[in-house]
Amino acid sequence: MKDRAEIKIKFYLALIFSSFFLIRASCLWSLSSDSNWPQIEIISLEKTPANLALLASFSEPPDFLLETIERIYLVARPQELTSFQSAGLVYRLETSLFPPARPRMNELSLASGGNGAYHSYQELATEMKNLAEKFPFICRLEEIGRSLEGRSILALKISDRVELDEAEPAFLFLGCHHAREWISVEVPFYLARYLVENYSQQPLIQKLVNEAQIWIVPLVNPDGLEYSIKFYRYWRKNRRLNSDGSFGVDLNRNYGFKWGVDNRGSSPNPASETYRGPAPFSEPETRAVRDLFLKYPFQALISYHSYSQVILFPWGYTRTPPDKYQLLFNLARKMSDLMVTVHGRRYDYGQASTMLYLTNGDTTDWAYGLAGIPAFTIELPPVDIFQGGFFNAESDIQPIFEENLKAALDLIQWGISNYHYVAPLTRNNKDSIISFIRKNKKR
């Protein structure tokens, strides 16, 4: 009798556990059905004889989806989009009209991040790490600091003999001081990827990488970017909890040159979008950039922002032209001329304070004020709020990068040709830096 009861209990226990495992097995089955799919877009073109002739001229026939009286719909991969653009085809992105048959994955990364083809912090960190692992001889990943919320501020150093600190001219490319300017992450990151991936094939890239050390920090404000993706798209500042309970310091008003010289170029009000912070370099994000800058002999700097489609150079804090106005003007004009040759988009250029508005405590005034090097803020497209403002279509990332690539390469070439070795502004000569700043403040 007792044995029978025991058998019964064992039977029930077996029933319970087998049910449980069946359920878990079914969960695992559904989880494993995920996979990576190539990113594709659906586009439409006007059905004109000219467009039809252009389409017919491609060596690989385009993938036709459907046709209406007025338009033709095509399925296109990113490289096809680029060739369509180069051929001058005017198309409309229609992907959103067609419900996806399968989850759309970001072709560049393992994670999706919730922001389409743009990079989230995690995606970017993963891809930067992957680049450094894939090209260890010319690419090194470095954590130059940590954000307020503890995220790594990552830099890629691209140079031959990358582990050595050679006496080579250094160049700094910065992105995303302002969280909502998503395109400003993409341009410097794409530049890094382009340099390492084309090193072995393109003699020009090989020469630049061999003769220079190129530092790329695509994401200066990781906390802000995450907030912009997850909570509020138009977030600008970092995530500092201010003394009055408001959030954020404008990182591009927190640098130490002419910091807070007036209340027009930055704001003392913590709730303002241009709040400069309680002190110069009060934020770990700007300190990270400062410390990197002081370590190496930087010859030129570009800080990417959006929007306006302009190339700006110092000064921002005053309308008085800088000493090297002509040099800065010529470099900016050259970059703009090169950019227009790529996709026909013209970037305006000029001194920051006269082109846009007064700014103080920004990156380029600080770099120029401290080291006298050419420093540019490139406000990426679009040209105004009505063309998207802080929004750029995903299909615009590549063309915007391409036009900025030419400009960046040209600036590096200029820096190499005009390089005269000067000891980097290390912390060891901190006193001379302070006296330099004091002298400038007196001016």
């Binding site: 359920i23 989880l31 389409g116 997850k230 798209r233 959030f247 709730a271």
Partner: protein
Amino acid sequence: MRKRSWLMLFLLLFPCLSPAQMIIGQYEEEAPLRTWNITGFIPASGIGRAEIMTIVADSPAVAFNNPSLIASLPRVSFYFNGSINRASLLRFGPVNTGVLKSSQNLWIRTVALDGAGLALKAGNWALSFGAAITEYYDRPSVLAESVSGGKTNYKINFSQEGFLRSYNLALARKLGQKLTIGLALNLSQGHMERKTEESWPLSQISIQDKKDGSLKDQYVRFGLMADITRSFKIAFALEPAHRLEKESHSFLEYSAATTGTKIMIEDRASDFIQKPFQLSLAGSYFLNQQWLVCAEVTFFNWSKYKLTWFSEQETRNFRDVFRLALAAENLTSFRLFHQSFSLTTRLGLLVDPQPMKAPRSTYYSLGSGFSLGWKWFRLDFGASWGKEKGSGSSLQSFRSALALNSFF
């Protein structure tokens, strides 16, 4: 099935006043409304009993919490439950995290016919089927406007809503005179949607940021009850950790009517929220024929809580918690209009620590209610009031529910 109350509030845009940075803690997107600690479905009688559901078999709803209890119900029983939940929140989404500022807590209310079920017993076996809304993800809707000269220059509208509905199939078996075991299979389905809309009417520019996801889960819950003596019972219920799967979708749209510019950024991902392992232990004791006291302690393994957001691992700084509940019930009967009625009144106290490590936060809730029985019917009413301490926001929650039970 359920009606959502829209609370429209006009807020100031900046300056903000709230502690902490991006870590919201109490009301992360996936946080159920009121409390993180959910143990199945709590009908009216359970609310009056401080959410003790592991030891007292008084409705087929117990199958969601301790499936072994259905073997203690009459031969046929069913119930319908409707409830009202009210909760106050301070920080959620973009509210009080940098964009929108509220000087006081905001309230949200949900009203729903939220549970129904049927239990059948034959010999030593019992079977039940039930459906209930077990979690709400609603947040107060917020509309902020900037108006000058009678014209709206700028408008921002935030909303979040969502729920998780569970279907429960339970089987229980008496093993001898003193022991009952039970197993419940739960299938959950739900939806979550968060939307922020901004517009600049004069420039005819608008932005829409929508994140939504469909939810799906399957999990089991085990239960056991032992009659130690005629008046003393103990029970336990166990729910292994399980994954709530979420098909996430994000849609971001910029549109400028004057230039015809439209930019859309869309993303999709398969995500999960790993719900924690739970273990409840409870005991009840009849002091005499009129008075029953019961206690329940539930362990939530929140330190193992995991989730992904658009395929990225998210961090929640959580700790394990023990939830404690105590309750007393008075059972009496009376005659009215030549009819015999039973009346049970109850009172309970719940100490419900929330899983965030910082700030430490605990809801202290007081529940009370009654059950009025006549022939084969019983009407339950339960209400609870909870006050939160620890976050500095003095959050509150109210619950009330009415249930109709029938037994044959």
